[in-house]
Symmetry: D2
Subunit: 319 residues, 4 copies
């Protein structure tokens, strides 16, 4: 770290590279990341390890519905790597372009490079527009597009995120080729454990919870911790713990902030219910939608009840 006040220390952000990925598009939405160091890595594990081990200040990772793959991996990585905290959420519309070497025409394309997941998401377009094509599997869409430019790949075209066009000299053969025009991927920005950003009224809290033991109704009891405090869940995903079939952990996004009384109370309830609760963070929602909830779960009601209880215990006459 520089002691020279004229040279500010720059922050480092890890993301799934290379330049041009959807993850890069997510990172470009972060105002604080502008003009900082962007560190491309090969997968979510590397990105999070950068943060844990101090090589980066934060990592942008896909967490839901990603077409780069890796979403279950991200959930599992967060579940097993302590010391991390989600500090922001970003949405990227997912669509694809088909690109080739400069001068290529669509009619020339017979071998299409693509990650199997992206390939699956463009299958309808490909069947209609390139009925005779063959598929060359790739570990990375952007890498295979780059391979086409470099002459390393034998493919004629690659499926890639639109962002790739800002970084490489490629021929745009087709746009919006994804079969689902509404597809969106949700990304989160992850730092080391820090205090949560201040509540905004439009917040989300992410958790990973294991059931304390298997019995009919255990999951029910977990969910009641939220329902009985008027808290809506925007995500509930089960992930196998991996030790045996039928054992799951639950990845949860709940509407609200840990500093909201009802959320704090729900977290206390969860913790008492299961010692395996991992708090991943409270942070502003990407859509900035204000969280609504019944008046009876407002902070005031919690504070009033505590005052009342304090009075009871002290033996003061009731008002």
């Amino acid at each position: 770290m520089s002691l020279d006040p004229g040279v500010p220390v720059r922050r480092t952000y890890s993301y799934l590279g290379p330049a041009g990925t959807f993850t890069e598009a997510a990172l470009s939405q972060v105002p604080e990341a502008r003009d900082q160091i962007w560190r491309p890595v090969r997968n979510v594990g590397e990105a999070l390890a950068d943060v844990v081990e101090g090589r980066s200040d934060a990592a942008m990772i896909a967490i839901e519905n990603s077409v780069d793959g890796g979403v279950s991996t991200a959930q599992d990585a967060l579940a097993t790597m302590p010391g991390l905290r989600i500090i922001g959420e970003y949405l990227v519309r997912v669509n694809f372009v088909l690109v080739g070497r400069p001068g290529t025409r669509l009619a020339d394309v017979s071998l299409v490079a693509a990650h199997p997941v992206a390939y699956g998401q463009c299958l309808q377009w490909l069947s209609t527009n390139l009925p005779e094509h063959a598929h060359l599997p790739a570990a990375s869409n952007v890498a295979s597009a780059v391979g086409i430019v470099d002459g390393v790949s034998e493919a004629d075209a690659a499926i890639a995120p639109p962002g790739i066009l800002e970084h490489y000299d490629l021929e745009l053969l087709a746009e919006e080729i994804g079969d689902n025009a509404k597809a969106v991927t949700r990304f989160v920005l992850v730092s080391r454990t820090v205090a949560a950003p201040a509540p905004t009224g439009a917040d989300k809290t992410s958790l990973i919870v294991e059931l304390p033991e298997e019995y009919p109704g255990a999951l029910l009891e977990l969910l009641e911790q939220f329902a009985t405090r008027g808290i809506n869940l925007s995500l509930l995903a089960s992930r196998p713990i991996g030790d045996e079939l039928g054992r799951y952990r639950f990845v949860i996004d709940a509407d609200g902030h840990v500093e909201d009384e009802r959320m704090a109370d729900a977290l206390l309830g969860l913790r008492r219910f299961s010692p395996k609760v991992m708090f991943l963070g409270s942070y502003p929602r990407a859509d900035r939608a204000i969280v609504h909830y019944p008046e009876r779960y407002s902070d005031d009601v919690f504070v009033e009840a505590r005052d009342w209880l304090r009075g009871l215990i002290s033996g003061e006459p009731e008002a």
Copy 2:
């Protein structure tokens, strides 16, 4: 009140008199009441008014299964008179004697004085042993027995609590004439609002709760406040509020003390659920039976969860 340190101020206890009632038997179980002033009154309302208005330090009242009547009255009085707190619980086995003027024999008895409730509880014995008798309704069993001694009552015999024999010169005509040999009445000792006696591990908490509004499931939600904290209820009675048919308040005895974490948490939940929660007190159970509950609702678990939450909010790395 005396300022002379040599003359200790005596405490006053109100109870349903006159001497000889089951309520007096309950009061005689209170070590602190020995050698103090015992103030007989005519009904529960008077007893509680004595406390509220400062004429007595405490009142002993029947609260469940009483044969002196008045139990609903007691619940309703507690529900509507603020400023009171239950500080102890006492059980009295309920059985009856049949008494007459000295010299009377059972064969002489044709008119039996009794409160209608006590009369109903001895009906089987009376049908068998005095098949030809008639019933003279009385507002108080003890009073009608006294009336017989005094020659004021035209009855030949009275049904009365066994305690009456310690106070009046009466002929014991028969003992244990109640039809239910196991009958017990539960009494509570009520003082002005004070801090609860210290937890003993064998405590009970009494509450009166109104539902916030009528909807299917409102009572369910009330009861969940206890069930989700592993708290057993030993009493749940519904009492009409009295403003219209179908509106009830609930009289609740819950196992545990307001200073137990799980009970304090349940009270907070109740208060948030309904603004009309009346805390009547936490006090040792009459039977001194230790309250058992699942380990997951122990104080330690609550304290640990709070520490954990505090750490989360501060942003400390997890241990």
Copy 3:
């Protein structure tokens, strides 16, 4: 029973007598009881025994908020006498008159005869209007009023139901002397076990349920049987079973008819939950208020689900 077809057999109705009671006022609301035999009895037990043993076709009994006393008794009697069924519900506004011998004036009254419960309900009026009076306890209001006419009672006046004026030559000293102008008593008409009257859309189902065993949450589970089928409860009363303190049965009135799908399903759930469910009957509500419930609990939805399940099991392709 007459074999002569020209002389129709008259039905017999038992009720708490003598003529002039609130119970008689309830019976006079039953069109089918007009011009039939009305059989006055001394208490609820006798009335129900008349039905069980065939002396009467039906009995009218007070079941909630009665001032004649006997309501807990009625609930307990229904809980322990098999072979009965509630077939109708009636409401009687409860207010009182003060009556004396012809020629008596209010200023002459010093001794007032009254059942202790009725006396308690007029206490405010009596304190204001007859501050110097004394109370003569009575086992029956109507009987003590009759005693005044007959010269058998030494009282100057009696508290009684307004209906008494239609039957006896009494001086009306004051009307509407009850402290609660809104007081209402609910009565039910009870016959031997028969099929329920047809559903009207404004029905009520009465049940008595014992918890299968005592555990935190057992009552919760009972109530869930109703809440999870959208059924509102208009009455929930706990009554001690009487074998030991802390054991209760629950007296329940639920909105709806046993032939409503949701109620039938709730009854099945209740019966599986507890073998001690006593069905007291489904019958039209006294207030004829149509029962409203969420569309998702309508008969159609139940029927459709059964058809769907039948299709699944048979292996038919889904529509």
Copy 4:
């Protein structure tokens, strides 16, 4: 189809090919499939389409924890293709071998072909034993191993299921190279809609359910349908419906058979709760573990309750 009675018609089973996959290993566990036609296909969609369109009698597909990928795809395909029914469940232990052309030695390997998912599952072994290797992504493990034999692939070795050794002449370079020795994949055999196989006491029921609308507690209500009938869930997975972020359908495996009373009742409850319940089938569990549940949810209890209700409605006197 042959009309000659001497030549029995053979059944056709579709599976993810080519020969040697884990799916083939699952199919080899099906006694009825022996000596029948096994039809290799390229993905789950093709396998299920074969069944729907009548090209196959049944399809074997991976449904949980697969390393061939495709599990979410399988769940989504079942959710959107009507007319299918799961009729059996099979478990295959997942481990991998490293294979090369005959004569290859481990020391010669520098380029390893593998599907990205399988590659990820062997990463630890590869890092230790082949620290200098590079990865050649493949769409199919077996296909890339075959490519090595055929000389089509430039890779030196391929990660593949052990079953491959029975079909191709390959050098076994290493066994059990998967990082998780306990990994298991669950497969299901899917036919057109038929009646379920008879209950065995060790059955499972698979369902896909959409919540009727989004509100706090909707999922809770779904799960209560099972918990309140003593039914354990062995799988609960949420899958995005795909129309917008935050909307899920739930893939559920519940212990028991549709012909078990408690399961039939739960399905009725589910159907009334949500019109979007898809029944995928009841079938014997792969592990043949008898399903245990509280006595109060046994068939007898359901049957007895129905008899009781029938009696009530008919108005028969209770026994």
